[in-house]
Every structure is written in C-alpha cells, then in structure tokens.
Symmetry: C2
DNA sequence: CTGAAAGCGCTTACAG
DNA sequence: CTGAAAGCGCTTACAG
C-alpha cells in the first residue's frame, strides 16, 4: 500500500480511502490512485484490514438441512455476493436440535469473529439463537423465515404463487381430486405451498377436502407413507402434489408398489427441482426454487448492513417457476 | 493476550509459545499459562496472527464436481480437520474446462492468501494448475488423483477392492454375464472400479467379454444409453455394474422402458451411495464411499505441511464398503 | 528455557 | 479534501 501511495504521490491514508470507496476524495485523486492500484495489481491485506478495523470481513452461513443440493446452491449464491464485495465466507453446518448448538456457535464466533451471519430454516425460528445474536449485536439476515412481516432483514421466495400455478397445471389436465402432502412444520415453505394449493382449488371452485391433505416432513419416507394413505382412500386422488421432491419420490415408490401407473393413473408434482427429479422414471414435474439467487440477495443484504459505504439494495423476494416433466398428465377418463 | 501474560506472570512471547504449541517451554510454565488461557477463555486473534506471521491460517478446497452430495461430504470432512487445528476453510467451486480458471484462482489466492489448497478430481489432473501451485510454492494435497504413486501428498480410497467385492456379490447370486459401465475418463475411480470388476471375474474364472463393457461419463444420461446398448445385445447381461449411482439410475430407467424388471430379470449395482440410491424403486445396491473421512485426512495432511509443530499423521488410504439393497438378486433361471 | 524490542499492513482519531 | 501519528494483537529475530 505504501508503494501505491508513493507512486501516486499521496499518503497511505488516501490510498486506504480509495480502496474502501470512502467519499470525500477528489475525483482526479481517486482516479490517479486507482490507476496505480490496477497497474501494481494491488490487493489489500485482509488480515491487516481486519486487525486495524476490528472487523473480520467474514460472514457466516449457518444451515441445518438434509438436502445437499440445497446447500450447494445456497453456498454458490452467498459466495457470489461475498466475492464481489471482498468478503470471505465461513460455512457452518449445524444441528438445530443439538443442545450444544449455541456453545459451538459461540466458539466459532469467538475464533473467526464473523461480522454477520445468514440463517436458513429451521435455524430462522431458533429463538435462543436469534436472541444470542441480538444481544451480542451480531447482524444477521434470515432466509425464508416463517414470519415474513418481521422487521429483521430477510429474503424469501413466493412459494404460494408457484404452488398455485403447479396445482393449476393439474387442474388444467382435468384433475379435481388432488391430494396434498404437507411439508415439515414450522417452515415457511410448507405453509406457503399449502396456501397456494388452497388458492388454486378456490379459484377453480373445487371444494377443499381435508381427507386429501396428509402430513409429511419433507423426507422420502414420509412421502411414501402419506401416498399410501391417500391412495387407499375410497375415493383416491387422481393427482398428488407433494411439498418437495423427496416426498414426491416417495409417492412414486408407493405408486409402484400399489401398481398404479404414473402419470397414466396418477399425476405427481414435486417442489424444489432437486437432482432426484430428473433421475426418477418418469421424470418429475416440479417447481424450480431459485435458492442460489435467494442466497445471493441474502448475502448482499447482509453486506449492506456491514459496510459503511455500501450500495443501496432492496430486493428481498424472488420467484419460483413450474417445470413440467413426465410425471403429470391428463386425468384418466 | 497481554492479560493472560500478566495473570500468568510471564511475557506475551511465552503465551504465544503455549498457544502455538511450541517446544522449549518448561512444563510447569506451560500448564500455568494454559490454565489462565482456559479461565479467561482466551482465543487468539486470527487477523493478528496472520498479519504477524504472514500466514492466513486459511486453506482452500477446490472442486469441480456435479454431485452436491459429494461436495457436502467433502466439506464436512475438511471442516472437521480445519476446526480442530485452528484453520479456516475457503471453498471454491470451479470449472476445470474454463480458461479463466487459473486467473480466477490467482485472484482468490491474492485476496485470501490461502496457505495451502486441497484439490479434487478432475482438478487433480490439471497440469497448468498444478504447475502454478508448484512454482508459487503453495502446498497442496490431492484427493483421489489418477496416479497414486506420485510423490505429491495425496489421499485415496481403495475402489478396486470395493468394486471387486460388489461384483463378487453379483457372482454369488449366480450371475456370469455382468455388464460394466465405465466412469469418466481420467478419474482414478473409473480405472480402479474397472480393475476391480476384472479381478472379480478372473478370480471366479469367468471369461472377460469386452462386449459387456460400455463407456460412460458418470452422468445419468450416459448410464441410460450404456444400458440400452447392453440390454439389446444378443446375449444381454443378467446384471449391470455401473461405476456410479447416477449411471445406475440411468440403467434403471432404461430397464423400465424396456420392461425389464429389476431385480427379477436384471440386477443393478451402483457406486458411491449417493442419496438417489435410496430414492429409487427398487433401492440401489451400491458402495458407500467414505468421502468425508477421505477429505478429513486430506485436511490433516495439508495441515501437517503447513504447521511448524504438527502431529505426525500418515493415513492416506481409506476403505469403501458394499451396501446391499433391493436392486440385486439371484440370477433368473 | 524466557523476554524486550521491532514490525506485520492496514485503519482510527485527529488536525488542518 | 488530505495527511502524520498512533495503534490493532500478534510473531519474528535476537539476546541472554
């Protein structure tokens, strides 16, 4: 940095101002310094920056999610935000049910001194954790929390709309008895997807039948059990909407065992567009969840809180899209 | 740190010695200092450590792999090694085919100053990248490179043995015509799995038939194509061993379309025990690949190179295990 | 085996 | 709008 200052004929403090994008630098000074920075390919030393400014330039990504596809997309999005703003990413898989969660996290925060963290469901509902962050003044952003009206910075996907469109797709194929498998409790996605289902029925004047709604918890096994229950009804559904792809895979398994052909005798819809959706036979109609974009926005939102001189940024809702594949078709006549 | 020094009645330099596990500290001094460290819950400031010692205490994990299940296991293993040795982890998904790979990496190395990196296939065979690391004196460890005899530090799994056991499992069920779908070229796993297949045949005096060996590239689609080719032979195989689970899923799809029942008319084996293995119907017999353990060992091996005073560590081979599920059964008589 | 001094490369708080 | 001084919390190189 001193080299840059010497070559540009300014003090190191001014170089620091340019590097940190601080205001109150004359434009020609800024340009002159920036030119030398580019020429020398100068990269500020992160350790020195953190030590002097007492900020680590690190953010944490905390998750407790069984789906590795979800995790890698999450990471890709947050990394994109971090890389373009000089932040480092500390990933931290954790177990929301573990009593040691908080003490582990305290250790991590003490050792890596993260400037802020991003939380994903179900950690977004962990009161103890949220309180701890609040009390210790650690900025955070929530991804898809249950309550999207709270004042905490957060991002979410409009799952309601996507679910409604997906169910509409089934209705367009002539389906009237459409089974619904709920996701895990206390996840915003579960509630929104169910709401979308109900809205679609309502808009098409199809009576809601609670017998067609079964509990699930996002796992393959719960989907299989739920489907068995639905398919053994006196009046079984002609289509099943599962709140995620793992449960939809379970529905496919149940159908195979009951010798019910998909999509000829039963249409199946999933949600999330996980890799498994493409590997099943038939391939699964599902909803593409823009996790990566969502995570990138979460990263930007956090950086906005952390940086002194950050760009404005306010996009916190992203949209999901229905992907039609082979597992849905016209209702059997 | 000064607080610790004062309370322990020593100089800060001695505290530093204890923190860094340096030798040449009298045992009672060490214990006295350690006691105060524990009492105060003292955590050394990483930024100050890196700045003073000119090491970032960061390692990079570089990967270009389509399987998110593989990636999350990899991360879990390396994180375990990092956490227990005070290292931070920088994850870096990259594209081995991208011409900008090296320049991106240079940027990353310049900005985060990683002390060393871990490479996974296919990056382990990227000569340009390896040369760059060599020339710039950046220590690295390879996970599962093609050439396991090279002098570079590396870790790998004994896929040959696991593949042999898996094929033996098929032979025990009476199969004699066993199809084999190769994995992607230039991956050590592909070669070892094929070798295991050949060894199993040889040990059971079953003649090797090249018509039963088909190319694949670890993707679902390549597995489906390969299976179609195998199943249309005049003398089709009664069992197919696919070099990974994605290709095995493709085999299942081909079988369904050709109305061949698995496992009654065709046994199918995969490799890796990816989540999809459990979601298929029937569930897939496969080989559990201890990626996480492998990655942890890679992390330890790298730390051994980076630390001045590290523990001895020499375990670089781990074992894979056959998991028998529903997709394999007795040969049809 | 232990310690006093200097310095790592930045930012802070202040002065002008 | 710009700069000189001090300091962040460690480790290095040296001395004893």
């Amino acid at each position: 940095m001193q080299d840059v200052a010497d070559l540009a004929g300014v003090s190191s403090k001014t170089v620091s101002r340019v590097v940190n994008n601080e205001p109150k630098v004359r434009n020609d000074t800024r340009e002159k310094v920036q030119k030398i920075i580019n020429e020398l390919n100068f990269q500020p030393n992160k350790s020195a920056q953190s030590l002097a400014a007492d900020r680590s330039l690190l953010m944490g990504l905390l998750y407790d999610n069984p789906s590795s596809a979800y995790i890698t997309q999450l990471q890709a999005g947050v990394l994109a935000a971090c890389n373009s703003h000089g932040y480092g990413l500390v990933i931290h898989p954790c177990d929301n049910e573990d009593d040691a969660l908080l003490s582990n996290l305290q250790l991590l925060l003490a050792s890596s001194r993260m400037d802020g963290v991003i939380l994903t469901p179900p950690l977004t509902e962990n009161k103890v954790l949220l309180d701890y962050l609040d009390v210790n003044n650690i900025p955070f952003v929530l991804i898809s929390p249950l309550d999207q009206e709270q004042s905490t910075p957060l991002v979410y996907t409009d799952d309601t709309l996507a679910a409604k469109q997906s169910v509409q797709h089934l209705i367009d194929f002539g389906h009237k008895r459409i089974g619904f498998i709920l996701g895990a409790r206390q996840r915003s996605g579960s509630e929104m997807r169910f709401l979308g289902y109900k809205k679609a029925l309502e808009e098409n004047q199809i009576a809601f039948d609670s017998a067609l709604v079964v509990e699930g918890d996002f796992t393959f096994e719960s989907g299989e059990l739920a489907a068995q229950q639905l398919l053994r009804l006196d009046q079984p559904p002609t289509a099943i909407f599962a709140s995620n792809d793992y449960m939809a895979a379970g529905v496919m398994k149940a159908a195979i065992h009951l010798r019910i052909s998909v999509p000829y005798e039963l249409s199946v819809c999933g949600f999330d567009d996980l890799p498994v959706a493409r590997y099943l036979t038939p391939t699964l109609t599902t909803v593409q969840h823009p996790v990566s974009l969502l995570a990138e926005n979460a990263g930007k939102l956090l950086i906005k809180q952390l940086k002194k001189y950050a760009d404005a940024f306010e996009l916190n809702e992203v949209h999901a899209e229905v992907i039609v594949r082979e597992s849905t078709g016209p209702v059997k006549v």
